[in-house]
Symmetry: C2
Subunit: 415 residues, 2 copies
């Protein structure tokens, strides 16, 4: 039996135990996991150093190596994350609906764990701990498949977490790490219907596309974000500049940052130059439509391929539009249904934008950078769903649950 199938089967067995763990049992385990990470910080950092060294030999950039890096302080922060998850309310076992039918049947709808969650992600080893913590809190087992660049770190971290679980009521097998670095192990996970209940990809566009295109297991698609800010004719110039600058520059590498700025022509005439100056001063490369290039000679020409690209970088498309309709059409064509914003003082235009834009999060007069489980007050985030089924937008703990109907009778049969 392959590593993937064997570990998924162990996770499924453990899920039947996880399913009946109480909130206290789960929280105790999360705290034990946090303590173990802190206690073992030195051995984790040593394993991480192997990944760093190999990465440096392979020519990995220093910025990526920094994201991969684990030290005592970072391990402490990751452990604190587990402690915070322990303090969140348990979404499992809630009565969501309850009633008696005329025939006397009592029907109760309760929240239950999903079962076994497959996580497929890239480098950062903190995701290993975060995902394990969120899945266990919600009574699930998890099969982790991280990127090979962090394999030594992930192996050590999972060993520490499983050892910690062995001292608790939770089954250690509820956390599984796939160590096979080949892409075939991902492909196998994607077809494990009957063992995995859902697969959640976290990573770049190509990782997510591979999962969506090849999975037969249900998927929660996350993350791809081609986000727009549209500045309406009546947008407040200072607010518009602040929001556009924040959405692009505050953290360009994340999915809720802005990739394209759409500007009403009447606003652009008076104010686009100063917004562009501020962006250029922050080393943002501007790619513009013809009208933008006429106003901003520093801009390169933007192509449809540019509008369809999630840069995650200091690059911004700017397109001047005739009106809200043209902005809506652009977003409909190039948006990924993640986060979209209108800056306007006109309530009617704002209402129309909020209604018409089909995205997980639609903003009026605020930066798209707020699309985040913590910013939304969930206390945790397993990812940001860009699909419409099951969960949409930032996913907190309830996104890791399903439901079940319990029906009690006294011999009812159907006539």
């Amino acid at each position: 039996m392959s590593e993937v199938r064997e570990k998924a089967a162990l996770a499924k067995k453990a899920a039947a135990i996880m399913n009946r763990m109480t909130t206290d049992q789960k929280n105790s385990a999360l705290l034990a996991m946090a303590d173990a990470l802190v206690n073992e910080h030195a051995s984790i950092a040593a394993a991480n150093e192997l990944d760093i060294t190999r990465g440096r030999e392979n020519g990995t950039s220093e910025s990526l190596l920094d994201r991969l890096k684990l030290n005592e302080q970072r391990i402490g922060a990751i452990a604190d994350g587990l402690r915070q998850v322990a303090e969140l309310p348990d979404p499992v076992g809630q009565v969501l609906d309850s009633g008696e039918r005329l025939n006397g049947l009592h029907i109760t709808k309760i929240s239950v764990p999903l079962g076994v969650i497959g996580m497929i992600y890239e480098a950062r080893p903190n995701v290993t701990v975060d995902a394990a913590g969120l899945c266990l809190k919600t009574g699930n087992s998890v099969v982790l498949r991280g990127g090979s660049a962090a394999i030594e770190s992930n192996r050590k971290v999972v060993e520490v977490l499983r050892s910690a679980l062995a001292q608790t009521d939770l089954p250690a097998d509820a956390i599984q790490l796939i160590e096979d670095p080949n892409r075939s192990s991902v492909d196998e996970m994607l077809k494990l219907n009957g063992l995995l209940d859902v697969v959640i990809p976290r990573g770049g566009a190509s990782l997510i596309r591979n999962v969506v295109e090849n999975a037969t297991v249900p998927v929660i698609e996350t993350g791809a974000g081609i986000c727009h800010t549209y500045i309406d004719q009546s947008g407040d110039p200072e607010m518009a500049s602040d929001i556009a600058f924040n959405a692009k520059v505050q953290r360009p590498s994340v999915c809720n940052s802005m990739e394209t700025l759409l500007v009403h022509e009447a606003f652009a005439a008076g104010h686009l130059r100063s917004i562009a100056d501020r962006l250029l001063a922050a080393h943002v490369e501007i790619r513009g439509c013809q009208r933008t290039c006429a106003l901003i000679p520093e801009a390169k020409n933007a192509t449809d391929a540019d509008y369809a690209t999630e840069y995650n970088d200091y690059i911004l498309n700017i397109r001047i539009v005739d009106d809200l309709n043209e902005a809506l059409a652009h977003i409909g064509q190039f948006g990924t249904m993640h986060s979209e914003c209108i800056v306007t003082e006109n309530a009617g235009q704002a209402a129309r934008f909020l209604q018409a834009v089909d995205a997980a999060a639609v903003y009026h007069n605020a930066s798209t950078r707020f699309t985040d489980g913590f910013e939304f007050g969930y206390g945790a985030e397993i990812g940001i769903s860009t699909q419409k089924l099951h969960a949409r937008g930032p996913m907190g703990l309830p996104a890791l649950t399903s439901t079940k109907f319990l029906i009690s009778g006294n011999g009812q049969i159907r006539g």
Copy 2:
């Protein structure tokens, strides 16, 4: 452009209009559709007669032809179904959550239409109307791909429905029928990411398997039901007999009927013979485990393949088990997470069964035949989900909605 892509694109355009239709506008349209079906009953019956004639020439069984048949009375009943959907509450536009963050951002979570729903189903033309009604009520467009055996009926019905819509505020293009009878048109639908937001298959196991295995569009899996009834040692003999008989015989062709009866050995010794007699008298073929065959000589030997088959017919597997654990293990191995039942007077055993069985609907002392949107009080049913994401069990109107976050600020940026 292919028929599928062209019609899906029209449906997507129409979805942007559907999305802003009010409850009154949608209900008026449903009533207009109902009236049109009644007014056009003769032309619909004439088109249906072409399907019936062709089916009879092709050797279709009379029972299948009966399911295909449309006459004035049946068309009237289908129209009444639309009128009932019009009376149901509109699940779209509900405020699901709302609050203000410390930074002053107002975040509101509302229910919205899914967008464009692809329905892939088999023969019965009533599904064409039911699905169109449910999708339109929830503000969606629908792309219908029915079985070729009902193509003349479906074509006429959709023509009538679209003509009716043309007299209302709703866009006629919100209802699309794929007429291409080739399997390739189904396969094309399954890959239409960006145009279809979800695909819902309704039909036999092979249709559903094809959809699950080949779709890149998100799927709501429905219908496959290998349902069990477990009679515990302490089960009331008369109640157990009634529930088992009802679950198997009342309507064997549907997904919530029983395929395997599990019986505690202590119960079997005293009561299985009389239950078997009742089933045999109703012309149920029994396939049993070794112990069952010893008690019921009329039984054939049951194989694992039998336990894994959804008969939808007058055939029943019976297996005698040592205890609840063995029953749970059997259900875990062969169940399809649809509907499972325990018959027992022991509250502890019942509680354990309800907790441990991982299925959409778990029953204590009632027939599995109740798993149904109408029986659950939803007033409608788009199908019974056997997956854990998005919706599980009978799906009413809310299963055809998604959510969206609306965020209003006054210039908030992220620090």
